[in-house]
Symmetry: C2
Subunit: 287 residues, 2 copies
């Protein structure tokens, strides 16, 4: 599904895929930043804990965002497709300034949310300026083509990635998470090989890619964000490869971004942190 | 140490780093090819099992190369630096048409062979046309800057790779092995970051990079060979990074080669397999 159309005169909200295991105590930089862009004291943050099977995930994030200075924080106890068509929950999405999708299982997210009123509200909201963050499974679900699985080693292989339709908040990239920690470059390369027009974005744990309305990424957190650009691919063996066979992929570009680096998904250019050390001061704070 | 100088009118022998776990039974393509380029029936192959602590490694490869059609096959029971200064073993190197260095521990290789008569004979031999193959540890030792170790995840980090001086048969690249299987792209990227003039070459298991005298790689085997080219790097955070910190590396090129692909280390160009399916027919057979 393509991203919802931005209404006249408005700007798309941030998309903030987080690689999982974001720091919640000592240095909660990512969650604090998300709270700030969502409006700080004036924010209304909605937590969607559907990916998780743990009962207290919604409440835990509610407490956390409150502590980080959020205004109002709600969570939806959505566990079924029926819940997703509950107008009350869709209304909570419509009223939010920021929506946070927790980790868990992204196929649980896509099978429960897909095509429901809540999914439509999230898509419509982001197009109208609501910021959407998601960690782990909540990061992968954002894409039109969602990374759903793949084997564990770091080689690019035929059948090395399973894709499923996601929420379609971006159609620029496939997003993977727990990236370096779980050695997922093989499945990301395998996924990019399917159709190299898509970027592969691999987000490490405790790291986030803040993607702004101009499609420019800024990295926040302690790990890296790996950008695989297959647009210059001059040879791929995928279409002739046998099941599980190692792929040949010639002409990939690779940028590994750390905190403060930027990447422009429109121009395919990477930028180092600003030299004054104020690398991410240009993430605009909502009001 | 720089590669030994090629004597007037001669050509350097192949360098054949193998990623470990090469097929020895069902489809021993790599070892067969090495036997062929070393002269087939007229070959004199010397196995150096020093990296391994297993007593029968030398004899096992001797039997194997014989079965694959080699002429004469010897192995040296080198286990100490003293052994390496035994003129008889250096003479075996001088007489060989192909030298095969087994797997095990590459620091055992570098600490035992380094600077001895045997190391000099291998270096001199390769410059004069002797083909040198090495699997696993035997692959890494070939480089001037040898990959000696690094942590297990696939992220590029400060301190993410330990280098040690190797045999210096090539000064174009750092060579890593068991590459996809052991998720070593992080340590290869970390190593390339030290000084991006060096290519990073990551060789998967049951896969070999046949590097000819013109510095052109051809891939043989069931896995991939990953080439990291850092020459276009426009930003690296390495020099300012704290211990263990995730690195920013902007502007890397990545080529993943499968069987039949070529890579020219001089021009930094990758080539797909030949369309007639005779991808590696141009590996010249010795006489």
């Amino acid at each position: 599904m393509c991203p919802a159309i931005v209404p006249e005169g408005q700007k798309r909200g941030y998309l903030v895929p987080i690689g999982g295991a974001e720091d919640k105590e000592a240095k909660p930089t990512i969650l604090k930043r998300f709270t700030e862009i969502s409006g700080g004291k004036k924010s209304r943050i909605l937590v969607i804990p559907t990916a998780s099977r743990l009962d207290d995930t919604g409440r835990m994030y509610q407490t956390l965002f409150k502590r980080l200075g959020a205004g109002e924080v709600n969570y939806t106890p959505i566990t079924s497709r029926e819940d997703c068509d509950n107008p009350e929950y869709a209304a909570l999405c419509d009223e939010a300034t920021g929506i946070f999708i927790t980790g868990g299982n992204q196929l649980r997210l896509s099978t429960i949310l897909g095509g429901t009123a809540v999914a439509q509200a999230i898509r419509r909201g982001n197009a109208a300026g609501v910021h959407i963050a998601g960690t782990s499974a909540g990061a992968s679900i954002m894409a039109q083509h969602m990374m759903a699985g793949g084997p564990g080693d770091s080689g690019a292989r035929e059948g090395g990635a399973t894709l499923a339709p996601g929420l379609g908040l971006t159609n620029s990239a496939i997003i993977d998470q727990h990236f370096s920690e779980r050695n997922r470059i093989g499945r990301l390369l395998s996924a990019v090989a399917y159709n190299p027009y898509l970027f592969g974005i691999g987000v490490d744990e405790d790291t986030a890619a803040f993607i702004d309305s101009d499609n420019v990424i800024e990295v926040v957190g302690s790990g890296g964000v790996t950008i695989v650009d297959g647009s210059g691919l001059k040879y791929s063996s995928l279409s002739q490869a046998r099941s599980g066979e190692a792929l040949g992929l010639l002409g990939l570009k690779l940028d590994i971004l750390h905190e403060g680096c930027h990447y422009d998904l429109n121009t395919r250019e990477a930028f180092p942190p600003a030299e004054d050390g104020q690398g991410h001061c240009n993430i605009s704070v909502g009001d």
